[in-house]
Amino acid sequence: MYSSIISGGILGVEGILIRVETDIHDGLPVFNMVGYLSSCVREAGERVRTALKNSMYYLPPKRITINLSPADVRKEGTAFDLPIAIGILVSMGMIPEKNAKGILLIGELSLDGHVNAVRGVLSVVHHAFKQGIRRCIVPKGNGKEAALIAGMEVFAVTTLSETASFLNGDLDLIPEQVDIKQIFLRQESEPYEDFADIKGQAVLKRGMEIAAAGMHNILMTGAAGSGKSMIAKRLPGILPRLTFEESIEITKIYSIAGLLPENEALITKRPFRAPHHTITPTALAGGGVIPRPGEISLSHNAVLFLDELPEFNRNTLEVMRQPMEDGAVTISRLNATYRFPANFMLVAARNSCPCGHYPDMNKCTCTLREIRRYQAKISKPLLDRIDINVEVTPVEAEKLFEKGYEESSERIRERVYHAQSRQQLRYQNEQIRFNSQLDTSLCDKYIVLGSSEKDFLVHMYQALSLSARGGYRILKLARTIADLEDCDKVSISHLKEAVFYRNIDKAGGI
C-alpha cells in the first residue's frame, strides 16, 4: 500500500518541505530508499527497521520502497527517521492514513525507539506554517522551539510507539505552549557585569555606548591590560533589547548550528561571540560540504568580539569585508547557493605595537618599522568599515584606586533603549532596525542635513580625504549620536563627535 507523510529539511537557514512516500507490495523482501540521499539519510533505513522491531512492530517480508521527494534536492540530516517509520506503519495499515494527513513529522530515532532532538526545527516548522500546515509532531527536545510559531499545534513526543498511539487516537497529547513574554521577562532580570566597575576610560565608554545604540563597529587600540577586554565583556549589559523578530532570526541560526540549548525555546539575549584568533576563514564565515553558519552568522543581530585583531590570519579577516556591507554571507555550492544572515556588530581589540606599550616610548621596545608593520596587519578596507576608533590608555594607579562616581550599566542601558526605540519608530516601514544598517538611499531619505551641516561635512570630506563609504559612515554615526541625545535633526556637534570617533587615518602612529 502507498502512503505519503510530510517532513522537512533545511537549505541554508530556510526550511523546505519534503514528502516521504512509502510503498509496500509483494515481491522479494527488499528495503529500498531513493531520492538523492546523503549517507546519513541512507542510514535511516537501518535505524528505522531496528527501532520498529524494538517497538514491537514487525516488518512484513515484502518489497518496501521509500522515496523522499522532491527528488532533486539533496537530503541531509537525521530528521527523516520518524516520518519514514510512521510512513511504513501507515503503509502496513497500523495507522489510519487520514490520521497522518497534513501533519509535519520530524525526528531522529534511536535503536530502542526513542525520538531524539534534531537541528533546524524552527526553520522547518516556520516554513511549514507558511505553507499552510497547522499541526506538527517533533521530538520532545525541540518542542519549545517549534511552539514559538503562533498558530501551530505542536506535539512533542519521546518514543516511536507514543507517536503511533497518538496518531491512532489511543493517546492524547497536550500541545506544547511557550509564554514568550515570560521568556523575555526572565532575560531582563538576568545579572550583567557592570560598567561601574571600570574606572576612567570616559572616551571608550562613550564610544561603547554609541556603538551599542546603533550597532556600529568599534575598534579599541591600546596597551595590554588597559581594560579593552574588560569593557568588551560588559558590552552585552548595555546592548539594545532583542525584539521578537530578531530573536526568531537568531534562534533559527542557532537551531541549524545545533547550538540551541535543549528545552530552551528562544535565544533571548543578544549573543556575544568571541572566537579565538586561530579560527579559520570557513569557521568565521560559514561553509563546509553542507554549508553551516559560521561565527559571523552566529553573531547575527549580535556582537562578534575579535580580541587581538592583528593576530588573526589576514585571509580570515578579509572574508568579513563583504558580509559587513551586505549583512549576509552567500556561500555557493554546485547544487545550491546558501545565504546566511550576518548582520553583526564587530567589536575588535588590538595592541598598538608588538610589545603593547606604544605610544609610551619609555616602555615601548619596538622599532618604528615593527610598529608600522604591526598596524598594517589590518587592511585599510577593513578599517574603513569601522565606525568608531578609540585609543585606550592605561589608567594610572592612583586613579584606579581612588573612589569616584562611575556610571552604571543601567543608566547607559536606558539611554541605549531610548535610542533604539527612536530608531525602531523611524525604520518601522523598512527592512532595517539600526542606523548602522542604513544603505546609501536610505541614508539620503532619513538623514536630512541643514545647509550649514552639509557644508561642514563637505569640508571634512575634503580635509580628511574620506572615502565615499567613510563619509556615509560618519553620517550614520552622527545619526546615532543624535538619537542618544533625543534630537530629531543631526547637528554640527553630532557630526563633530562622529568625526572624532571615526578617525581611522589618524593611526596611533607617527
Binding site: G200, V203, M361, N362, T367, E391, S493, K496, F500, I510
Partner: protein, 360 residues
Amino acid sequence: MTKEQYYLWLGITNGISNSVKKKLLDFFGDAEALWNADRNVLKRLLNEQQMQRLMKTHNREDVETYGRNLEKNHVSLLYIGHPYYPEKLLSIPDAPVTLFVRGSHMELLSGETKSLAVVGARNLSPYGKQTVEEIIRGLLPYDIVIISGMAAGIDGAAHQEVLAGGGKTVAVLGSGINVPYPEEHKLLYRAISEQGLILSEYGLNLRPEAWYFPLRNRIISGLSDAVLVIEAKKKSGSLITADQALEQGRDVGAVPGRIYDVNSIGCNNLIKNGAACITSADDLVDLLRLDQKIVRGKCKKITLAPEEKMVYSCVRLEPRHIDDICRELDLRVSDILGVLFDLEQKGMIKQPVRNHFVRT
C-alpha cells in the same frame, strides 16, 4: 685617464680605510702618481691585504665603466682638491678623500650659508617629532642648511620638515649613494636629491653596514657649524656625532626632556656636560649667529570663546589623553569633543596620536 678617474679608483676601492688612502695621497702627492706608483714602494706602505684590495680595482676599463654608471645614476664624485669639495670638511681630522654626491645644488656645500646638523633617536616619541617640527619651522625663515642622515626617526622628520617648508637640506648616507636606507624613505631620498643634496662616502649599490654609520656621522658633524641632538637614549649613535662635533670644534646643542624619558637621557647628559640647552629655534639663531632673511609677519590674533579657553588651558605641551582632560574639567566627553575639534581646526592643538591632544 682624467684626474677624476684616478680619484674614482680610490673612491671605489673598498676595504681600505680613509686614513690609509689619505696617507697614500700625502706620500705620492696625488691620485695619478699613486696609480703609476711602483709596486715595491707601495708594498712598503701597505700590508698584503690592503695591497690586494687596491690592485683589485687598479684596472682602467673597470674604472671607466664605473664612471659611466655613476653618470647614469646622476652621481658625481668630489675629492680633496675638487672645486666643489666642501671647505668645512678639509678642517676635520680624517676628512673623506672622496665623496659621492647626487643632486645639483652644489652651492649648499660652499660653506657660505650656515649649516646645522639635526640628529636624534630612530624611535622618536611624539615629543621628539613635535620638537623637530617646531624648531625647524622656526629656522626656515633664515638662510640655513639642515644636515642630517636620512635615518628613521628624528633624521627623517627633520628632512621632511625642511622639504615641506621649501628649505635647504643635505643628507649624508651610511649606505651606497644610490641606496635609500631605510627603505621606506625612498620617496624622501628622491625629494632630497631634487631639492637638496645627497652625499655618501660609499659608491653604487653598497648595502649599509653597521660600522658605516659612525663613520658617516663625522661627515654630518664636519659639514655643519653646529650639531643639534633631539632625543637620544643613554647610548645613542647621535652621541657619537656629538662627540665628533666636539673633536672637530663644532658647537653642540641638545633639546632637554623629562628626566624619566629614556629618549631624553642622552640629551640631558649632553647638557650636563656643557652642551647648549636648546629650547627654541631662537636659541639656535643665537648659537649660530644667523642673519634673518625674511621678516616674519606679525602673529595673527586668534580669539577664543570662553569654553575654548577653558579646554585649551587643559591641553599641555606634551600629548594628553582626552580622558585626562575630561577629568580635569569634570565634563562629559561629548561636551568637550566639539570644542577640541574647533581648536584643532583653528590650529591651536593637534592630535599627534589618536585621542591624545597637544598644543601646537
